[in-house]
Symmetry: C2
Subunit: 307 residues, 2 copies
């Protein structure tokens, strides 16, 4: 029998897991055990702290419902969701637009809009224009790419947080034109707090973090032959753009809302000009339709993703 | 703004957590984030695998009730509970008996018994004797130490798994005598399976592990001036003594059930002879009343620990 002490126990666990049939599960669990044990050894985790950790993780799981995912929120505030996105992006060799977290507010079947229309149909706020192209890695426009857009209103609420489940606002989809161009109008989005009434909120408060996400507009862009892109644009004038609680912001996704751009289809409106660069779909076709910014969801809806 | 990529994101998270007021929470969470990120980077965790992990941890939390702790069970089968015990034991400088997991079957207010009595009051099975001394690190007997004992029956069931909540069997407590001696009779305990009907059971099955704990007798021993000892003895003839699913067995706790020991108070019975060595209570007074072997609990009882 193996003599088990605080160092040899790791190998004892790996030995017992060595019979795992699925090679990837075996690899993942072996790494999980090694890192988990190294963590406990490094900080000399005490029984009382262990018990507090167990209680915390239990509370996180029990806070989850069909319309709230506290485990994803925990992954977000620890930077894991963004890290997974970043690792996934690395698998694309060509230059491309960075991804950002999908979040829990994406809905399928949003309404189509024509070029130039506003996606703000039931909302007041400061009107803006958003325009640019969807291009490939050589800069050529991609025609008939589908672009889905969703964002918050001037109070930081998504439609499902203030409207009936059947209604949609501040979201929609369009095709790019033959040159890959897109343009639409909307209102300035507002940032918001992650849900602070659960165990993850308590942790974030104990860490003296503000718990806020900077304002942003979500995009989900696809075209035959290209890897699906899930991303978001972050206006640079939000004071929290450098301290996103879920680490979804990367430099290349920070945009300036400017006025008087002669290239704008709406020169009278403050506008965001952004070109999205897709990569050709290779054997690694993973989209990043995961990662998240689960937030104050007060109204469950059928359209709400059920993870 | 910091440029976030798959390497710098770890420092970005640590920066945001640097305002944590409690220095130990700050230390623990910083280590947790570093090890969690290193894990994801090492195996290049994909979005799909991340989502599977989220679903698994959500299911673990949601399986917990007031009488079942699936998070503790996960910690057990990953060897973390035992590791925490082992780390805690290291804080005692003197030689002492190794600890083992408390498990979820401990009950307070078990019945007292007199030396030589049997704790098997409603059970049939192969009768055994258990005897020895509770001693200090220099080998002197500790008088009037309290010793609590609990174990399974010949089918691997604890009393709460087959009797009414108000009834107890195969558990009890006694004082050691003026020389530190204890002795009682019982029946051979039987090993058992961890609960296999939840997400942790599914993981253990996917790993082709048997999911069994070897047979054992639990002890919780205390005396004024000494650190409380939570441990268990494991008969060496159980075929799973070397492959405990929760890694509670250490060499020094494996015992032989022998016959004809002239030192036995019951020479006609197969017996276990074991001396328990306590350490003086220092400034580090942590007991290890945590760690666990949560198991098939079919009957919740008031006495059931509610963690």
């Amino acid at each position: 029998m193996r003599a088990i002490d605080e160092n040899t126990i790791t190998d004892a666990v790996l030995d017992q897991m060595a019979s795992t049939l699925d090679p990837r599960l075996k690899e993942i669990m072996a790494a999980a055990v090694r890192h988990l044990h190294a963590f406990a050894r490094e900080i000399a985790l005490t029984p009382q702290e262990w018990l507090e950790g167990i209680r915390f993780l239990t509370a996180v799981g029990q806070k989850c419902t069909s319309y709230r995912q506290e485990c994803v929120l925990l992954s977000d505030v620890l930077g894991l969701s963004s890290l997974v996105n970043l690792l996934n992006e690395k698998t694309a060799a060509e230059s491309h637009t960075d991804a950002s977290v999908l979040g829990p507010y994406y809905r399928e079947n949003s309404p189509p809009f024509e070029p130039g229309q506003s996606i703000a149909t039931r909302t007041h706020g400061q009107e803006i224009a958003v325009y640019g192209r969807v291009i490939d890695s050589s800069g050529r426009g991609i025609p008939r790419a589908t672009m889905q857009i969703w964002q918050t209103d001037e109070h930081g609420d998504y439609d499902m947080q203030r409207l009936d489940p059947g209604e949609m606002d501040l979201r929609g989809w369009c095709y790019t034109d033959p040159e890959g161009r897109y343009y639409f109008r909307s209102v300035r989005p507002q940032g918001y707090s992650i849900p602070m009434d659960g165990p993850v909120g308590s942790l974030v408060r104990a860490q003296k973090r503000h718990g806020l996400r900077p304002s942003h507009i979500h995009f989900l862009i696809g075209a035959p032959g290209y890897r699906e892109l899930v991303t978001a644009l972050y206006p640079n004038d939000d004071e929290h753009v450098g301290s996103d609680t879920v680490f979804g912001v990367t430099d290349s996704l920070v945009v300036k809302i400017t006025s008087g751009d002669p290239a704008s289809p709406f020169p009278d409106l403050p506008g965001v000009h952004y070109d999205f660069k897709l990569v050709a779909a290779g054997k690694n076709q993973l989209s990043n339709r995961v990662g998240a910014d689960p937030s104050r969801i007060t109204k469950p809806t059928e359209a709400q993703p059920s993870r």
